[in-house]
């Protein structure tokens, strides 16, 4: 595929070596998503999520088993969540270099920052609150359990807006900051968000919040999408300055 891609326009003729600010942001973005994976998968055991069909006792047991790792993981996330802002900032900067109006950049920034709150932070906060008091009433623990996963897997609108604006911007952009096929990869993301909508209805099966379609396929495609996006931003940063 890369054979078909014209080299991205150079960042204001600045030599690659000088773009220290972009490199710092890029490394922070990579670090954040790495840390995000470690926290959510290994420490908090929130990805892959436990089933929505767990009984109240099982839910209390889940929190009891992972109490310390949840506290460590999401404790770190309370600090590391800033990486999400930098990750959205660096892509927003790339969008300012497109030939499309700045309106899309503002929508990108606003929708992603809205997404970070219910999409990621609310889940971490509810998990921490659920493990905060050992003698929490099981019914309340179950409610916090629901808020955690319904907000984590179930906040859709912000990301759909974010993806559609990015896809539209890439399609309309004449400077080829991102190759056109990236717009289509982004549209796949919109489809996975669409298929995550039934998590509010089903507690088991492929469309529950740990279902094979709503969760696994969405996460797999998100992994591919984010890896490609980070690689493309990297390519833009290291593109040599224009010779002429």
């Amino acid at each position: 595929m890369t054979a078909t891609v014209r080299p991205a326009p150079v960042i204001g003729g600045v030599a690659p070596g000088d773009r220290l600010d972009l490199r710092i942001c890029w490394w922070i973005t990579v670090g954040f998503y790495g840390l995000f994976g470690v926290i959510f998968v290994l420490l908090a055991r929130v990805m892959p999520p436990p089933g929505a069909d767990l009984s109240t006792e099982q839910i209390v047991a889940f929190y009891a088993d992972h109490r310390t790792t949840i506290k460590i993981g999401f404790g770190i996330l309370m600090v590391a969540i800033g990486g999400a802002a930098i990750a959205s900032g660096i892509v927003a900067y790339e969008m300012t270099r497109m030939s499309v109006g700045k309106v899309f950049v503002y929508t990108y920034i606003v929708s992603l920052s809205v997404g970070a709150l219910p999409g990621c932070l609310l889940a971490a906060i509810c998990c921490l609150t659920a493990t905060f008091r050992a003698d929490l009433d099981p019914q309340v623990t179950e409610l916090l359990f629901d808020i955690t996963f319904l907000s984590f897997v179930g906040s859709l609108g912000c990301f759909v807006a974010n993806y559609s604006i990015l896809a539209l911007a890439i399609l309309l952009d004449e400077n080829e900051v991102f190759p056109k096929w990236m717009a289509y990869v982004t549209i796949w993301q919109i489809v996975t968000e669409l298929l995550a909508a039934p998590v509010f209805i089903f507690r088991t099966g492929p469309f529950s919040w740990n279902g094979v379609i709503s969760f696994w396929e969405g996460t797999a495609l998100f992994g591919i999408y984010m890896m490609l996006l980070i690689r493309l931003v990297r390519r833009n940063i290291t593109t040599p300055a224009a010779v002429s």
Partner: protein, 243 residues
């Protein structure tokens, strides 16, 4: 018809705003609005009986609520065009819009979580319902700040041809003032200031609705003027490079 980012944004917000109105109408708790004086058991029964409709409308709300953002970002772009000394108001407007959108997303989630497990303890369902309604109704501060910044930018426009007519500034001030009493929905449980009351509910929603429609019409004209101005400076046709 050129593919201008602003025009695309306006029409995106218009279409999803239309879908949002439909989702708003089919939500069983909006017509007539649920009363804060309902007992926990009544609230739990309401969620249990209407779970499918609540889920359908709130999932649509989840998708389309954030899609109103493009309209506000067009406003931000226009604010940056206004010849005030700096474009500080644009950035104030940007941050106000962000928190406003986050509030809508949170309220939407609380309703959906309330309807997730009908067998949940009634008091917890009532808790989620209260959280949803208060988050949906009371925090009007971001709207007031938005409108204030917009109005000030319009009044302080020193450009030879003002971007926005002055009445739009007055309109923003009036709408900002009309929604302020809705903040009392977090205090009163009955009367016109309660979240189902005449002022906090009906007036606030009517104001929001008119605000979106009027701003859409005004922005369409302002964007058209800007494009005409730019066309004067022979900017190329923004061809769609779908290739």
């Amino acid at each position: 018809m050129r593919f201008d980012a602003q025009r695309v944004s306006l029409w995106m917000s218009a279409t999803f705003g239309g879908i949002l109105v439909v989702a708003f109408l089919i939500f069983p708790g909006f017509f007539p609005p649920m009363s804060p004086t309902m007992s926990a058991q009544e609230v739990a029964d309401f969620y249990a009986d209407n779970a499918p409709l609540i889920r359908a409308s709130m999932i649509t709300f989840d998708f389309c609520g954030v899609m109103l953002l493009p309209l506000f970002t067009v406003v931000i772009h226009q604010l940056k065009r206004i010849r005030t000394s700096t474009d500080v108001f644009a950035y104030c407007y940007l941050s106000a819009v962000t928190s406003g959108a986050a509030l809508l997303a949170l309220a939407n989630l609380f309703w959906l979580i309330g309807a997730f497990r009908p067998e949940r303890d009634a008091h917890l369902v009532q808790l989620m319902n209260d959280l949803a309604w208060i988050t949906f109704t009371a925090p009007v501060g971001t709207m007031v700040a938005q409108n204030l910044c917009f109005a000030l930018a319009v009044y302080l426009d020193q450009g030879e041809r003002p971007v926005f007519p002055r009445w739009v500034g007055h309109f923003n001030i009036v709408t900002g003032l009309l929604v302020i009493p809705a903040a009392c929905a977090s205090i009163f449980t009955s009367g016109p200031l309660a979240w189902d009351g005449l002022i906090s509910y009906w007036l606030r929603l009517a104001t929001l609705g008119t605000y979106m429609i009027v701003m859409f019409v005004v922005l369409r004209r302002v964007v058209a003027e800007e494009l005409a101005e730019e066309a004067g400076s022979a900017e190329g046709d923004l061809a769609l490079a779908v290739g």
